[in-house]
Amino acid sequence: MTSWSKRDFAKYPFSPQAAEFVDSLGVTIDQLTSPEMARVLERAINRAKEGVKYAVIEPKWDDDLVELLSFPTAVALVSSLQDRYAERRYALAEARRAHLLLQEEDIEKLIKLAEQAFGWKIRAVDDEGFRLAVGLLHYLRNASSFHDPHWKLVNREVKLGEVFVTKAEAARLLQEEVQRKLLERFKPVQLPESLQPYVEKLRGEVGGMYTEFSEHIELEKLNYDALPPCIKNIIRKISETGHASHLERFTLASFLVAANASVDEIISIFRGLSDFDEGKTRYQVEHIAGMRGSRTKYSPPSCDTLKTHGLCVGWDTRCGGVRHPLAYYMKASKKGAK
């Protein structure tokens, strides 16, 4: 990839190289509503909508140029919503899209992309099954939010400032890099009048969901409004960042099980995790629910425990002396029912 093709730009429109190419075309934001650009605008709106709503963007297109131009347009649309939550969801969606594409690339291309688009220190190696060596600091910046033990630095091969990874792992790290870089990109934009209706349309479609997280959860048995702040906070974190620690996952799952949510409801919440794996999640939830393995039902942690681990967010404000998040939920559900 010493020279980037149009296809590459369409695949990785967040790269500085793609941005430069877009600049060279001299398209301005005012032209977006002109008839020639209709397809760009249409793709951009869909891109933004899918991204914010489902945190996925399908990596499928037929016109490279349309696909490429739709990206900065979608970013502008999302920015003008002026909602941090929407931005996070969108960044996560773009990063996942990139991840799918990156997985298909060969090693050389992956290296070039990481070097050229993100300035990574990375090289090909052949070391005990590992194919790539990534600079320690680039590794840390992107892997330190992962919770699976195999990502922990201590369990990696680390030599002279390099961490050895497989190709798939490098692609996953790049996904994080894309997400972080995108988040830095959002800044307040003033879109031309002619685009305002599109922004409003987008706001209308995704609005309900980013102000209230309950909508994308397939509510059945759960009373979303009655959830205690700590639990809502974990749900929000998952849908905004795609990350949650083991304790957060356990707290959430065990709480929801105890609150009588169905396994499918619970899974729909966990779907927001960037490392979501339906089979694994289902197994874990069923395990916590006592439907598997030891057949003991795990009870959710108490307020004290959550406080110790910094997961309590409502102790001194909203919760008024409850000792267990479930107690909060019971009380709040009753109130709501009245």
Binding site: L137, L140, S144, S145, L153, V154, E157, V158, K159, G161
Partner: protein, 390 residues
């Protein structure tokens, strides 16, 4: 003369000629400085100096007990924390004898009761046995704990260079002036590391979250090699050494060692050692780990002693040491920079034997009058274990 005045004078006359040994930080105008003073024991924070010479003048006029500098750089270092505007921070490590797990500390900790003057030996004495008042604890150091801290620091440097790939020129190592060492990684690229990444680095050094199975130390995994990187190689090499020692008394071991080329014969070792194998792994892990203070490394807003300045509780120099010379560094000689001229003190709390230069002093008992070289006098008074005799 009051004790505070005596200490202040000693520090002032040292800084009048010795300030050059202090190490100017990069971007001095973006650092927060902090000081403590003798006497009123004031803590001064959030000070900014635009030039090194300004700091020098300030130090010369104040003669502070401690000179601290932020590991971070800020947009506005002199404002309160919320408004400073964090721009980055050095990657720092603190190795203190307290964290290294030597057991000598309990033998060389004394206490003094300011209300009734009683004193004695002992660690963790909450109340004065004579009057029930609150006592001051005085932790001493000895050759043993400083040697342990030094060995731990040598391990840290090995991790920093061989695993993390930092070069000697990026590493600033200094004696803490008391019971340990400080290491600063100064390269520009570490400045932006977030807290989580720093936590990962600490966990790596301490071996937190180490998964022996994932690293191939259980059967059916990918067996570690002696040349493997990271913990795989480190633990494998340590196991090899431990088995090598064991081979002398246990004839079952030699065949394993013979079988062991580069790749560790995990199943064979397990077969011979049985349950003991897992204990051996734990032991290897303990010995490979380097016990840094995790709070210091993960704190993005830390102030630490400015390298090359005096420690207010000891009068010893936080001397900058070249990493390749740490082996031969002798704090009791090289960090002693105050004069040999004699001062008379009277002992308030028991003092263990202390070596300065190549002279041994003490142990001293309460009430004893000592004609001490000034360096020792400062140490005893600053620690609160002696007072001046007029």
């Amino acid at each position: 003369m009051s004790e505070a005045r005596f200490l202040k004078n000693a520090f002032a006359s040292y800084y009048a000629r010795g300030f050059d040994l202090a190490r100017e930080p990069k971007h001095i105008d973006r650092r927060e400085f902090g000081f403590t003073t003798f006497g009123e024991k004031l803590v001064i924070r959030h000070r900014r100096f635009s030039k090194w010479s300004e700091l020098r003048d300030f130090v010369n006029s104040l003669a502070p007990a401690d000179i601290m500098c932020s590991t971070a750089i800020y947009e506005r270092p002199d404002e309160p924390m919320e408004r400073k505007g964090w721009l980055g921070a050095e990657l720092v490590f603190d190795i203190d004898a307290d964290h290294v797990g030597t057991d000598c500390l309990s033998q060389h900790t004394s206490w003094f009761c300011p209300s009734c003057g009683e004193s004695g030996w002992g660690l963790g004495i909450a109340k004065c046995p004579a009057c029930g008042g609150k006592v001051e604890e005085i932790k001493w150091f000895c050759e043993n704990c400083l040697e342990a801290a030094k060995q731990e620091t040598i391990k840290l440097l090995d991790f920093l260079e061989n695993d993390f790939g930092f070069s000697e020129s990026e590493i600033l190592l200094c004696f803490s002036g008391h019971r340990g060492f400080h290491v600063h990684v100064l390269s520009d690229e570490v400045m932006s590391l977030d807290q989580q990444s720093r936590k990962e680095i600490v966990d790596y050094l301490l071996g937190v979250g180490l998964d022996f199975k994932a690293l191939g130390f259980a059967p059916r995994g990918k067996p570690p090699m002696l040349t493997s990187g990271g913990w795989r190689g480190r633990v494998a090499r340590r196991i090899y050494d431990l088995l090598f020692e064991k081979a002398r008394e246990d004839e079952r071991i030699s065949p394993i060692l013979e079988k062991w080329s580069d790749e560790m014969p995990v199943s064979a070792v397990l077969e011979v050692l049985g349950r003991e194998y897992w204990k051996l792994l734990e032991r290897a892990k303990e010995e490979v780990a380097t016990h840094v203070d995790s709070v210091v490394t993960t704190d993005l807003h830390r102030i630490m002693r400015l390298p090359g300045t005096l420690h207010g509780k000891t009068g010893l120099l936080a001397k900058v040491i070249s990493p390749s010379e740490i082996d031969s560094f002798d704090p009791f000689v090289e960090a002693v920079v105050l004069p040999k001229s004699v001062v008379s003190v009277s002992v308030k709390a028991p003092i263990p034997e202390i070596r300065l230069w190549n002279e041994a002093y003490g142990p001293f008992e309460r009430g004893q009058r000592v004609d001490a070289p000034k360096a020792l006098g400062v140490l005893l008074i600053a620690k609160g274990a002696a007072k001046l005799v007029e």
